[in-house]
């Protein structure tokens, strides 16, 4: 027993522990991908009821902003060819905030807009060939079967960006900040609803042609 007292304390060599941990760390770094579940959310239209005839389009032509894409990935916007997709955002914003002949609700909506948006309407809006009021405006996008998915997403992205910028501006946020509003938080949810009040995100995705152009 006396001998044991003099024995040095038993120690596990832990110097290589870091190396082992590093090895594991690198393994996990390499083998896993951080889940990137982000994207553009869309709500598809309900399936057509076979008992009812398809609803007739009663909307005035000026209330519809038409975007068409063919199988060569060329765009036709309001019957004019367009090269640069990024121009769409501004055009759609001007289109939605046109207020050509607003109804009573439209006028109320106009009065509820912040000054920055109202000046936008006054400087660029009130065109005769554009929408009557945001509640009436519809953005229609028709793609061909041969259109690439990349262009489809780009156009959809621009349309959504235009709407989000308007929504954001209404409550004093950028489009980015508007998207990050957490709908579980009642305060932020109220802001969200306030932003969307009266301006529906009316995006119509038309069924594509069966024959490629």
């Amino acid at each position: 027993m006396a001998k044991g007292k003099n024995r040095p304390a038993a120690e596990v060599n832990s110097g290589s522990m870091a190396d082992i941990a590093f090895l594991l760390l690198i393994f996990f770094l390499v083998t896993t991908t951080i889940a990137n579940d982000k994207g553009i959310a869309m709500l598809l239209p309900p399936k057509p009821d076979p008992n009812e005839p398809p609803p007739e389009v009663t909307k005035n032509d000026r209330n519809i902003f038409k975007i068409q894409a063919n199988s060569m990935d060329k765009l036709l916007v309001e019957d004019e060819p367009m090269r640069d997709v990024t121009e769409l955002r501004g055009m759609i914003k001007d289109f939605i905030l046109n207020f050509r002949k607003p109804s009573i609700e439209g006028k109320e909506l106009y009065n509820s807009l912040p000054a920055s948006l109202r000046s936008h309407v006054n400087s660029k809006g009130k065109k005769d060939n554009s929408s009557d009021e945001p509640g009436e405006a519809v953005v229609s996008f028709k793609a061909d079967r041969g259109t690439s998915y990349e262009l489809y997403i780009q156009v959809l992205d621009e349309i959504n960006a235009a709407y989000n910028e308007i929504y954001g501006q209404r409550i004093g946020l950028t489009a980015e900040e508007f998207l990050q509003l957490d709908k579980k938080d009642p305060e932020q949810k109220e802001l969200y609803q306030q932003a969307r009040q009266g301006i529906p995100r009316a995006i119509s995705i038309a069924e594509p042609n069966k024959i490629g152009g």
Binding site: F28, D37, K38, G39, M42, T147, S148, A161
Partner: protein, 152 residues
Amino acid sequence: MAKFKKNSNTTQEIPTAALPDIIFMLLFFFMVTTVLRETSIMVEQTLPKSTQLSKLERKSLVSYIYIGKPTKVDLYGEQPKIQVNDVFIEATDVVRFVNQEKDKLSEVERDQITISMKVDVEAKMGIVTDVQQELREANARKVLYSSLKRLD
């Protein structure tokens, strides 16, 4: 000078005893935040880039549909295909797949099912719309076009 000399006999070693702990912490972080992929994707997946991204709210309600050119071209051909879980399906089978996925959810959540479409940029709209028509048929109307963040 004398003042500096006084301290010169201190050891200059950095204690490394806490190093494993730090590394373990990093390790646990990565283990927790990452998800191992349970299905192997058999189609090419270069997701498009966009700016207006929104997050998925509830993961449990999400089902995935992958569309793209098969990676094994000699086996499956060059045409874009639709993959769910671990198999290729035709557009007409999408309804059945959605109903299967709906059965996994509880009664009240069935209508809230979200379909995340992971489509390769090279794919054409034809196949995507075919799937969308079937999704409408299956009453799974919430769709998320999965895409990456564009930095510009």
